[in-house]
């Protein structure tokens, strides 16, 4: 009895959260490069964004980028240093870059963090086994907002 009631309530909450979100297939680019609208309508939390960027199982952005503001060890240099990214790009452009960097940089090696299908030999995470599309995106809509909020703070003083 109680369980059923809780499940219904949970579904309702999840359902309404979902409705407000812009799904991976619904994102709209302006001029092919910027996504002006927030994916969730909830302001991103830059502190959470910083953690996501340095966490291997999340954004793992530090695998390829150096960011002086993060203390993570072993920051890579496959991509450019991100210091000053908040000066170089608008918030909409930053969102566009994290969602799908290939829109801005054709053929980029930077992964698309909000893409769920259209892959060649999609896998089930890092198991090496087949995955079923649509896959879960690498980052959730709110995680992307958090990352974008952090990137926007990266300004050269």
């Amino acid at each position: 009895m109680k369980l059923t009631y809780l499940t219904v309530a949970a579904t309702l909450v999840a359902g309404s959260a979902f409705a407000a979100e812009v799904g991976p297939k619904e994102v709209k680019y302006n001029d092919d490069t910027a996504i002006e609208m927030s994916l969730t309508g909830v302001a991103g939390d830059p502190e959470k964004g910083a953690v996501i960027m340095a966490t291997k199982s999340k954004g793992n952005c530090v695998a390829c980028h150096e960011i002086s503001a993060l203390s993570a060890a072993f920051q890579g240099n496959v991509g450019p240093m991100l210091d000053g990214a908040g000066d170089r790009w608008s918030v909409g452009e930053l969102r566009g870059l994290v969602v799908n960097a290939k829109m801005m940089f054709e053929g980029s090696v930077m992964p698309s963090f909000y893409q769920v299908d259209g892959f060649t030999r999609p896998g089930n995470a890092y198991t090496g086994k087949a995955g079923q599309e649509p896959l879960a995106p690498l980052l959730s809509a709110q995680e992307i907002e958090d990352v974008v909020a952090f990137l926007a703070t990266l300004k050269d003083e």
């Binding site: 920051q75 060649t120 030999r121 896998g123 198991t127 090496g128 995955g131």
Partner: protein
């Protein structure tokens, strides 16, 4: 506005920096006598890549790791070579034969590693060294196949490789192997998985760069099988391919599959001119 990926432009900038970062003057001489060519002019088929020098993965490892390969007493991979000598001499299977029954001393294998994978006319197929070893086991010895990327096979490959150390890798890319080589090349450039990366994304566009704690090499296979400090065992080429593809969040191919045989031929050919170096030591 759209940009071409920066990496293309960055490559020209990155090269000289990388040359500085790479231990240019380090030379690999094993046991004070076997000189290993670890840098060579890129083979002609790589002209379109813009890479003019091919380099062994040895150059991208830390000094301490490099040193382990300079003396066979320090190279943990040599323990497996010793084990394989026992296997070489051990009769197995219905025919009561060992490798030695047909091939005498392992030194008869000098030059073999350098030209594999290669075309087998009788079978009408491209064969890797592992395929050839299993063919001997099944058809000449009447013994069971070894697991393609298992320990017995890795050790035997190390023993065979040691006989060719210092000889230049020289696999065919043309003639009857051409179609398979082309298939391998296609696989090398195919971006896979949720991270959408190809072998070239890491080992052609970004060698010399750091991806987290890893110093990206050209992904050469002249040093295989390779003893990795990370898993403390010998690793085969196909096991390494599998790991790299898995890391793109893709569905991998299996060791011994037609796809990996083709990829091995193509990747081996990118190392034509480098010395056979296996068993090498990597982290």
């Amino acid at each position: 506005m759209k940009f071409k990926a920066l990496t293309v432009a960055a490559l020209t900038v990155a090269m000289p920096v990388m040359a500085l970062a790479g231990p240019d003057d380090d030379k690999l001489v094993i046991n004070g006598e076997i000189e290993i060519v670890t840098k060579a002019a890129a083979p002609a088929h790589m002209e379109e890549t813009g890479i003019d020098t091919v380099m062994s993965g040895w150059h991208f490892r830390a000094d301490e790791t490099q040193a382990l390969e300079m003396d066979d007493f320090d190279n943990p991979g040599m323990i497996f070579v010793d084990q394989a000598i026992d296997a070489w001499n051990m009769a197995e299977g219905s025919e009561g034969k060992s490798c030695a029954s047909c091939h005498d001393d392992p030194s008869s294998m000098a030059g073999v590693r350098a030209v594999y994978p290669k075309w087998n006319e009788a079978a009408g197929e491209v064969r890797t060294l592992a395929m050839q070893v299993n063919d001997c086991r099944v058809n000449k010895m009447g013994a069971d196949k070894w697991k393609y990327a298992g320990g017995d096979m890795a050790s035997m490959e190390a023993l065979i490789s040691v006989q060719s150390r210092g000889m230049p890798v020289n696999v065919a890319t043309d003639g009857p192997v051409k179609a398979v080589w082309e298939q391998g090349k296609e696989l090398y450039y195919t971006r896979t998985g949720q991270l959408d990366l190809s072998c070239a994304s890491c080992h052609e566009q970004n060698y010399g760069n750091m991806i987290r704690a890893d110093h990206l090499s050209q992904g050469q296979i002249n040093g295989f099988p390779t003893y990795r400090l990370k898993n403390a065992k010998l690793n085969t080429v196909h096991a390494r391919f599998k790991g790299c593809i898995r890391d793109t969040r893709a569905e991998t191919y299996s060791p011994g599959s037609a796809e990996f045989v083709a990829l091995e031929l193509y990747v081996a050919s990118r190392g034509n001119g480098l010395s056979v170096e296996g068993p090498s030591v990597r982290n």
